[in-house]
Symmetry: D2
Subunit: 360 residues, 4 copies
């Protein structure tokens, strides 16, 4: 019906929240059919037994990861735990299949750092360099030519989109970055952990991993690139919010002294900051800079691929505050993966991704 | 691009939850453009100021209810408080505009009963008879020829779809019906009431209106029709669940003695009940009968127009239990209204309504 | 300081929600010191490592269940899975220790029924007859003389207290009882089950066990006793509410025809029902009959040992509706256990249990 | 029964969440009887009609604020909107009544700043100097001699207790303070605001007042005092968490260079920080420093007067992170007010306040 070809997609590890979200979104994509869905533990079971929400819409059964249906795909999404994609990627790439890994296997360029944080030897370090970090707002061109895309983590997406304009324009001290990030519980996946039980999370709020979190090196690596390759110093504290979906990153950075003392910044610093954000993202279909003085809420992006941002400087101080919200399962995972797939496949970037957020 | 014509839709009262849900769904409808959106209090404001969730998707500004944009529409949805549609309907109908009222103005056939429950005189009782009760699973044909459709209430939708097969097949005593219904807080709309504050609803559960609720006569009227026109006796208790969307109706009815004592029913009553439900709804795109022994959950229909049902008879007793779930804002309001619009406009009934539920 | 002696209490299985709730409440009891707290898996760990909420209030370390500290107690609470208490009870009773089992081991009098529902052979059926069912509002005298008390289940407590006055006065047909019950997630304990994860329960509502639930025979047994020993027919459907604490039972029963047609009942049936409830519970410190027309909410009993009830008859029909709320961890478990301990120990029944509910 | 006298307490403005929390806590206080409870709008109504949670525990009726029952009290709590206490305080003080204002009327010493933030003229600026800021951990002695105590705000309590040790020991740059604070919805009171409706808050997270919040000058004033009277520069961003009770403050401060480069700090900075916190609070009954590496959760203090803290320095950087949690209605309002009352009345500071938190 239109000018684009149809493609077949496979999902490895389709029994978790990221997998089912890929299914939900791909069902709405006009050019893609999911033809293979693997799960070692669920092979043979219809998807709708695990996810009744997809009844009457999907007639698909889990297969084992070495089923030939997989190698028949044009593109394969890995919605697996860390460490799975790196073992399967080389053989699949050789067959000409494009790969988008929603886990962390190809996110860090430095293999030693990867092995330190993920506590296992890397199975194919030679691919780390080739893999493209799939943040379209930064790497669009490289993604369009990639066969292997490392889909960013949820926190890294919200934090990087928030900090980018400040660093790109050299406005803030790169050693002053603080990301106070808050996530709904679906970010932890469908894992059986006592601290993820309803009775533990409901009506409760806490930080975790304040001493060190795997997303820290990923964010730092991304921000350093925008900072002309020079390292940044970032403090990152994630928190668990008693809600299912959504990330809210509250970002703090100190204006460089020379910037803050500029005559024009004293008078209209807020206005300048606002313009810089609006300019930077004006042609991005999924990044939405709110009017000055707004507070984006996670509820305004649920189920959608949008990142909504606002930037402000309280009472003419030298601190810039950026508020950045995404749906962790969409722009922070499955949606961004499909955005990458669109770019890699020559489809319009927003194809199949413009379903409006659900509110309330 | 396809065989269907494009139509213009108007929404009167677009500042509440039902209004914004109509917008969310109509944005995904291929044949409809919303060209008029009214709100007395918000006239002149862009929709996205009230609902930032629709930013970057909708460029629409509230107009006053007497704006000419409204009379230029093919179909008008009333997402207003009770009592508004009945005052505007006659003039609009005269102009050849089709009307779907999501409020209660045209739901009851008996004007005295309407006036008793809604505590005001009815402005156009002469239209009550013409108005078609918009439950497509019952009234599809009449809806297709209607100019005025009374969109069912949220509880009445969940309860009637659950009881229908039992009454239609004369299986249960019509004086034994009990509907224990539970709804998320969005059912009460965006009303400023102390008992709807977050701190009052969260972590709390209660019944309300146990002594009498406006949806009671509506349900009874609908069930009597299927019961060969003979009145039924229904006990109906609604409850408020600390969640935003979703209705769960737990329905109880006593098998008629002659049914329960039939030889085949003793042996395979559960199987017979299951078959009756599956048969009745097998060609309905939005009613999903779950496998025997299932418990439908509201989380499996969020954001979608599905009603999921299960039927069971515990331990061969004479009680039948039906579990019925819907999203109160979709199948219980905006989605069903669009389903009716599709039928009235000659579109495929499921057009624009097949976006999968959001889970988790 | 007062006339009562001090006693030592032990808790077997203190690492779950019922165990920690016993600790919270016993900390506020003037005559009791918890001297032994056992957990096979946590032996050697300070309680506050598992439950930081008790920091600065409790200096207690888990011991193994065969620690001698246990046999030094005056009374032992079993907050264990079903099947544990029955194995330890005989030896402890022989030592003169009183036992209150918060699990189900001694709740059913009929050993065959117990073994059918709990799917294991009973270890000491000879104690079933001696064990007193610990619903003080029914069995106060027997409890005061018991050495072994079977603490009622959470649903059975809310349901029985609601139905009792109707059955005791012979007002309703004993074959017409329906209990539509709703519970917060803490009722399922701290169990690692996928369907108890926050992301599964939040914003979701569902029934479970509609085909048969272990609390069914317990409720039926209790109601039959009040019904002059004649069996009742009960339909019982439990539901999971997205909240942590609280049970709301919505109870339905049909007035006997001869009652409903009595002249005085036609005129003032509601008033008669209200009086019957108020009379029955007027000297109960933990059962609170609300004014006519009220809807009790679970939020009004959180953290407390109260059961709040209301009774109504909608529009002079022959259905009576009773609404009954408790905190499942208090009146439905730990609080009622302490109430039983008070009765068994000669303490005032409400001692240590009058801390007001937390609201909001 | 003990050595302490009994006192009479009055509450002005007892129909909000702070008022009912004062009632809940004072009911558990052995030396206090609440003899007057005022509410202009509810005068004449029994408290339990508004707060059924207090049924069977409290037999008190709202009176008008000029009822003589009020002037008969020993101490009066103001749980009123800002601007009420300052109008009634002078006359009551003259009668020898002690006053604890839970609102903001006497929190700021600088009347111009007060009038700027609270947007009204101050009715008795002459009392600002006399009023003692009721943070017992800082001002215990002055509180013991005060007739007028300004009870701290909820955010200021959590933030100041967190920052105090760092500033007192001169460890961090006073111009580097960031407080990213998160609160449950009860902090906004029982106010009818659309953005506080359940359907708006549930499953949603957002910042608010990032450009300026009334608690900012209060915190800055308090921190400056500990900073040897020199002003500090603080960035403060409050957020709304979809839960009812609890505040979590995540605090950031930069170690002074001379501190961070000290030999001993390089090697054992974390240990030094931990010791400083433990030493500072070791004799405080309501401040609990958690073991190194802990993340306090709001769920561990619900219903209690505790503040739980942890301090850490991620990966030997120059940033110190402090995590501080309280129950906003207890240590952040009613509980701290009673703590102040205890100090002012010569009672043990923890009297009536040691009820353990409710968990889960």
């Amino acid at each position: 019906m239109n000018e684009y070809r149809e493609i077949k997609a496979g999902i490895v590890g389709g029994s978790g929240y990221t997998g089912v979200e890929l299914l939900r979104l791909l069902l709405q994509h006009p050019q893609v059919t999911v033809t293979a869905l693997t799960s070692r533990s669920e092979a043979g079971r219809p998807v709708v037994e695990l996810f009744p929400s997809l009844r009457q819409q999907l007639d698909l059964t889990y297969v084992s990861p070495n089923d030939t249906a997989l190698t028949d795909c044009d593109v394969i999404f890995f919605a697996t735990p860390n460490g799975v994609a790196m073992n399967m990627a080389p053989a699949l790439l050789e067959k000409g299949i494009k790969i988008i890994d929603l886990a962390a296997d190809f996110r860090l360029k430095d293999v030693r750092q990867w092995e330190r944080w993920y506590k296992q030897p890397h199975a194919c370090p030679e691919l780390l360099n080739e893999a493209v970090y799939g943040l379209p707002e930064v790497n669009r061109k490289a993604i369009s030519q990639a066969r292997l895309v490392a889909n960013p983590g949820c926190y890294p997406t919200a934090v990087q989109l928030g900090f980018l304009p400040l660093l790109k324009h050299g406005l803030v001290a790169p050693d002053s970055l603080i990301a106070d990030a808050k996530s709904g519980a679906s970010g932890a996946g469908r894992t059986l952990r006592e601290d993820l039980l309803f009775s533990e999370v409901h009506g409760n709020f806490r930080a975790y991993g304040a001493g060190g979190h795997r997303h820290h090196p990923e964010i730092s690596q991304g921000l350093a690139i925008v900072n002309d390759g020079k390292p940044v110093s970032l403090t990152f504290v994630p928190h668990l919010v008693p809600m299912v979906r959504g990330i809210h990153a509250t970002l703090y950075a100190r204006l460089k002294e020379e910037i803050n003392h500029r005559e024009n910044f004293k008078i209209s610093g807020d206005f300048i900051l606002q313009s810089i954000y609006e300019d930077m993202y004006k042609s991005e279909c999924f990044v939405d800079v709110l009017p000055q003085g707004s507070h984006p809420e996670t509820g305004s992006v649920l189920g959608s691929n949008f990142c909504r941002l606002s930037v402000l400087r309280p009472e003419s101080s030298d601190q810039v505050i950026v508020l950045s919200v995404i749906d962790n399962l969409v722009k922070g995972a499955a949606g961004q993966a499909i955005q990458n797939m669109n770019i890699m496949s020559g489809f319009p970037e927003e194809m199949g991704l413009m379903g409006p957020p659900m509110y309330p």
